[in-house]
Symmetry: C2
Subunit: 203 residues, 2 copies
């Protein structure tokens, strides 16, 4: 697309560099921005510079944070002896949204995936091993994706901790809430049958 403005062109190129945004969508977004008040556009720009200037990784759990310690690691109201190992920042948000967890996290920054060239050294596994050894934990929870890569990563970490003598757990796998059984894949359904639980009238 030939635009009549160099600045427009540059902004479109920047937006189009984001994942899943092509040049036509980028143009639509930039033209939308241009219809706003100038102050609103400046606000958009400054939130991004402030993001660049202020957001860093928590020194303990590697979650995104405005301080060197994230609010979860800094909280006195949370159980710092239970560590939940997750793949990425979105997983922390997803688990927080359940309001079922009061421990702390360890964000690996991905899972081991030889296909994508991601090995253990690319992830926060060393820091996790040190964290487990240095602290008097009570439980280590693997909340990784129920995929080959997630399982491999959990297994790798488990093998790096041969002397661990606290419960190491992983997320329950089974049929999803409100799913229809006939559409559940056979692996999941089979596993949920093998790992069936005592029935209670409380859900």
């Amino acid at each position: 697309m030939n635009t009549t403005s160099v600045y427009l062109e540059r902004a479109v190129t920047q937006f189009a560099s984001l994942p899943g945004i092509g040049r036509k969508t980028a143009m639509r977004l930039v033209l939308h921005l241009l219809r706003r008040e100038r102050a609103d556009m400046e606000a958009f720009a400054s939130t991004i510079s402030e993001l660049a200037a202020n957001v860093r990784y928590c020194s303990v759990c590697h979650n995104l944070s405005d301080e060197s310690l994230c609010p979860i690691c800094a909280s006195t109201g949370r159980d710092h002896t239970t560590v939940c190992v997750v793949e990425n920042v979105q997983d922390v948000m997803a688990i927080e949204a359940t309001q079922q967890y009061n421990g702390v996290y360890h964000v690996l920054g991905g899972v081991i995936s030889p296909m994508d060239g991601i090995g253990p050294q690319d992830l926060e596994i060393e820091s996790l091993v040190e964290r487990v050894k240095a602290n008097d934990l009570r439980e280590l929870i693997f909340a990784l994706s129920p995929t080959m890569e997630g399982d491999t990563t959990a297994f790798y970490i488990f093998r790096r901790l041969p002397d661990i003598n606290i419960p190491v757990t992983t997320l329950a796998r089974g049929v999803a809430q409100n799913d229809q059984l006939q559409y559940t894949d056979e692996l999941t359904l089979g596993r949920s049958l093998v790992e069936r639980r005592p029935f209670t009238n409380q859900h």
Copy 2:
């Protein structure tokens, strides 16, 4: 989503305010930005502030421009006596991309659409009428969307120019290049039949 960073939250809110981008997509885009070098993020922010500071509407044709006159209106190589009326900036780009037009444009900024509350006073129609009256034009081309709103707008402008004595033309309508006839809608096919053209062996 509860994030552990105020700046992250703000950036997500800004991205989610763009059309077609929900909070989950916004989060994905912002996290993608965060994985970049800080200088790259600053560059992203500054293209948006520069956009806000520099881009304006051309004083003649109302296309987007970095100067008070857009490159097309400022060009000496173009035919300034032929004016093509279009709905928006993207339409200018689309026509420029055809490389079949060497005249100038007039960008209305939309079409008359009572359903959306857009009347003639919301568009650059008055400035078009004045432009046609004040200049010695040779042709006025309506390149508006082939819709009820586009037709209404063209008709409205035409009625506002009762003394016009130059050719007023509109885009040809018919079957699209490489379309399959069996899938062409009957209105378009019917019209293309009524307005059939002498056959030549040049396409």
